[in-house]
C-alpha cells in the first residue's frame, strides 16, 4: 500500500481520484491549495504526489519547484493531472523534472496504469 497525496481544488476531481486510489488499496490524502499541499507533503511524506497545475494560491508549476527543493521530497514522484493540452503538459513535465502527466478528462484505467507505473508495480 502506498500513501498518495492529491493536490487539487475541484471537488469532483478529488472524489473521482479518491475512489480510484482507494480501490487499489492505497492511502489517500488530499489538499486544495498549494500552501496546504506543501505542508501536508512535508508532514506526511507521501510515496506519490498527484498535482493539479491550476491552484488558487500558486500554480502547480511553482509548487513543484517548492516540493523539489525540499530535501525530504526531492525524489518523491510527482504526476501532473491537468486540463492543459498534451503538448504543454509534456513540456511542463520535462522542464520541471516531474514524473508523468495525464490530461483531463482521463479514464480510470489511465490513472490506475499511471499510478502503478510510477510506483513500480505491475497492474493487477
Amino acid at each position: 500500500m502506498a500513501r498518495i497525496l492529491y493536490i487539487e481544488d475541484i471537488q469532483d476531481n478529488i472524489t473521482f481520484v479518491e475512489k480510484i486510489v482507494k480501490s487499489r488499496g492505497h492511502e489517500f490524502l488530499f489538499e486544495r491549495s498549494a500552501e496546504s499541499g506543501l505542508a501536508t507533503a512535508i508532514a506526511q511524506k507521501p510515496d506519490l504526489i498527484l498535482l493539479d497545475l491550476g491552484l488558487p494560491d500558486a500554480d502547480g508549476q511553482t509548487l513543484s519547484v517548492w516540493l523539489r527543493s525540499n530535501p525530504s521530497l526531492s525524489t518523491v514522484p510527482i504526476v501532473v493531472l491537468t486540463a492543459w493540452t498534451e503538448e504543454v503538459a509534456r513540456q511542463t513535465v520535462n522542464a520541471y523534472n516531474l514524473n508523468g502527466f495525464l490530461c483531463k478528462p482521463f479514464t480510470l484505467a489511465a490513472l490506475v496504469e499511471m499510478i502503478d507505473s510510477v510506483l513500480g508495480k505491475e497492474p493487477i
Binding site: D9, I10, D12, S33, A34, E35, L38, D52, L53, G54, L55, P56, D57, A58, Q61, T62, L63, V65, W66, S69, T82, A83, W84, V88, Q91, T92, A95, Y96, N97
Partner: protein
C-alpha cells in the same frame, strides 16, 4: 430566463473569488484564484468593482461575473465568466452589454480585452459586440535551471523608480497587465540595463514576487536600445536568471512577433498558451 445584472461591489471579495473559480472549473486554461490574489489583481489592474458586474436570476442565484478596469478613457474587460450550468442562456451577452454601458458612462473612448486563443464561444461573443482583433500574445514559462552561458555584458540593476523610468519610454504597445500603471501599482517591479562590449544595449523590467510560495518572476518587458535583439535579449535574460536561479518565471503577453523570442527560447522558455487582444471604439 430573467437575468439581472448588479454591481459587483454588492458582494465580498471572498464571494467574488468563489464565483470566479466556479466559472472556471472547466476552462481551457485553469486559473483559479484565492481572495488575496483577487484583491491584488483588483488593485494592480485598477479594476472598478462598482462598475464590474454580477449576473443573477430572478431567484437571486448568481450566474456569472465580469470585471471592468478603467484608465485614461479606456476600459478593460476581464474575468468574464459564466457558471457551466448557466451557459447559452444569454448571461455572457448580458454581462458584456453591462460592461460596454458602464465603460461608456465612465467616459471611455475605447474598450480592450484579451481572449485566450481557441476559446471560441467568448471570441464569437466579442466579435458580435464589435470588438476587433489587434495583436496575438504568448504566455511562456521557464522552470528554474542554471544559466549555461554566463553573461558577459556590463549590468546595472534598477530599483522600482529607475525601472519605471525605463518603462515610461517603452516605444511599443503594452497590454493592460504589463502597462506602466499596472507595473507601478504592483510595487514589486525591478529591472536591469546592460551594455555589451560591441556597444549594444538594452533593458529588461519585471515583477519579482517574494512570497512564501510565490518566489516568481513575471510580467517581463524587454527592450533593445541598440544592437541585435537576440544577442541583447540573451544577455538580459542570462543576467536575470543567474541572479535568481531558484525563481520560477512566467512571461505574460509577449507579442508573438517580438524580436526577442529567440532569446526567450534559448534561455529555456516554452509557450503555454496564446491570447488575442481585442478592442472596440465607442
Amino acid at each position: 430566463m430573467t437575468i439581472e445584472v448588479i454591481p459587483a461591489d454588492n458582494y465580498t471579495i471572498e464571494e467574488l473569488t468563489e464565483l470566479y473559480n466556479q466559472t472556471r472549473v472547466d476552462y481551457l486554461v485553469p486559473m483559479p484564484m484565492n481572495a488575496d490574489r483577487l484583491r491584488e489583481y483588483i488593485h494592480d489592474y485598477d479594476v472598478d468593482l462598482h462598475h464590474s458586474c454580477v449576473a443573477r436570476n430572478a431567484d437571486g442565484q448568481v450566474l456569472g461575473l465580469s470585471m471592468l478596469g478603467f484608465r485614461h478613457q479606456t476600459g478593460w474587460v476581464t474575468r468574464l465568466g459564466v457558471l457551466p450550468a448557466s451557459r447559452r442562456t444569454g448571461t455572457g451577452t448580458a454581462l458584456m452589454d453591462s460592461m460596454l454601458e458602464n465603460a461608456e458612462k465612465l467616459g471611455a473612448k475605447e474598450i480592450h480585452l484579451e481572449v485566450i486563443k481557441n476559446n471560441d464561444p467568448a471570441h464569437t461573443l466579442f466579435l458580435k459586440k464589435g470588438f476587433l482583433e489587434i495583436y496575438t500574445y504568448l504566455v511562456m514559462r521557464r522552470a528554474p535551471r542554471p544559466v549555461t552561458e554566463p553573461p558577459t555584458s556590463e549590468v546595472t540593476w534598477l530599483d522600482l523608480d529607475n525601472a519605471l523610468d525605463k518603462l515610461d519610454y517603452y516605444p511599443l504597445h503594452l497590454t493592460w497587465i504589463n502597462a506602466f500603471e499596472s507595473m507601478r501599482n504592483s510595487q514589486n517591479m525591478e529591472g536591469l540595463h546592460i551594455t555589451l562590449p560591441n556597444g549594444s544595449s538594452g533593458w529588461l523590467v519585471y515583477r519579482n514576487t517574494e512570497l512564501k510560495l510565490r518566489s516568481t518572476l513575471s510580467h517581463l518587458i524587454i527592450h533593445t536600445e541598440q544592437g541585435d535583439p537576440t544577442e541583447v535579449g540573451i544577455q538580459l535574460l542570462s543576467h536575470l536568471h543567474a541572479r535568481y536561479p531558484s525563481h520560477d518565471t512566467y512571461a505574460e503577453n509577449i507579442y508573438d512577433h517580438d524580436l526577442h523570442l529567440p532569446a526567450f527560447h534559448t534561455l529555456g522558455y516554452f509557450n503555454n498558451f496564446s491570447r488575442i487582444e481585442m478592442r472596440r471604439p465607442f
